[in-house]
Symmetry: C2
Subunit: 213 residues, 2 copies
DNA sequence: TTCTTTACAAGATGAGCTACTTTGTCAAAT
DNA sequence: ATTTGACAAAGTAGCTCATCTTGTAAAGAA
């Protein structure tokens, strides 16, 4: 995201320039197409041509936007992550007055939503080569870094007095624990969320301050 | 582990009865054989017959001890974990007077040892079906639970006044974070360990008490 | 422009087949 | 308790050929 541009090529601020908007629309369409296809077959069974045609776009356009199959898969995983991060964001914002409750609500929302999502289940249970699981585990750093950055931003927005480094620390730990609990679930979401909130509570109090903004 | 038995079938306490000892020896030998084989081929290329013969044992004996190939792999992963948990234990014990330092040293020891271990590297980089990676990630609960139990025991030994539930909470989080940082490494071990220690520090102070035993 | 179409080489994958191997379980022998 | 030999069922390996897919490039259309 390039933030809110002032003026680009004479375009008024606030309105998204056409090229960006078109590109965004293209990506969204391609992701939606891939999502549809994944309801039926596994990722290894879906070709780039399938995705392109399901999106009503030529295969070449797909390759122009994403350099390779893996790159698309990586971007797709992160895009799906957006869906969940929206829920996480909302949960945090609903508790800007109580950081411990914010963490608990956010984690529970994520674990519940992701745990029930059919697409996530497919990705998690798909262990074979060619699946998308590696992008969440062994090659999961892009996802971790992206999710950490987004969560850090939300935390800093709600608790601007918090030291940035501590916000990042908390965010990354939450992201890694969330991924861990999705790939290898132990207790029910609410139990895990409550326990994690209790664990991180003392740090949260110290870093975000017991007093709200 | 059955702890220290009092008297079993007339055998004096303290001495391990032969059957247990033999069984233990058998398992160790089989694990060592598997470890040797894994230096050369991937797990999917190694047959149960390979393991058995490398251990100088019949294939049937292997099947008598471990019901199936997957069961053996699972047990093997945990057995390898023992090696690292020994180091973790030692690191914790060296800092019974300073719980924060204990956590930092333990995590750093683990990340360093596991990160440099050739066997771990193989397991992590092996994404194909038939590998051992699932036993650490998607089917990793047995490992998580075992490691959590062991670490919990060590913590309770060093800080007996700590509430058992809090010790368990801390242990499981450390285990999950450790696995996460092994499968998807971010910073160097010492950085990760220091950051995690800072994150969990406040909880540690509260749960294990600032005052040593 | 930007997207589509068409074409292409290199590599991967699938079908179809056979032969062999491996897994997991027996009962008998040591 | 361990080994041996045997077994069915399932899986894999090798093989061939045809087809498909990936990734890239250039030419054409909106």
């Amino acid at each position: 995201m390039t933030g809110t541009a002032a003026t680009i090529g004479g375009v008024a601020a606030g309105r998204t320039p056409y090229p960006q908007a078109a590109r965004q629309l293209l990506r969204e369409t391609l992701f939606a197409a891939a999502r549809d296809e994944l309801q039926r077959r596994a990722w290894s069974q879906i070709t780039m041509a399938d995705v392109a045609s399901a999106a009503g776009v030529s295969r070449q356009t797909l390759y122009n936007e994403f350099g390779s199959r893996d790159e698309f898969a990586q971007a797709f995983v992160i895009h799906e992550g957006e869906r969940f991060m929206d829920g996480v964001d909302a949960a945090v914002r609903a508790h800007f007055d109580d950081p411990r409750a914010a963490v608990e609500a956010a984690l529970e929302a994520f674990l519940r939503a992701a745990g029930e999502d059919p697409l996530v289940r497919i990705v998690i249970s798909d262990d074979g080569t060619g699946g998308m699981l590696p992008f969440v585990t062994t090659q999961g750093m892009p996802v971790v870094q992206w999710a950490t950055a987004r969560l850090t931003a939300t935390i800093e927005e709600g608790w601007p007095q918090a030291p940035p480094e501590k916000a990042r620390l908390l965010a990354e730990a939450l992201v890694r624990l969330a991924i861990s609990h999705i790939t290898a679930p132990g207790e029910a979401p609410e139990v895990t969320a409550a326990a994690t909130s209790e664990l991180l509570g003392p740090f949260i109090d110290e870093a975000l301050g017991t007093a709200p903004r």
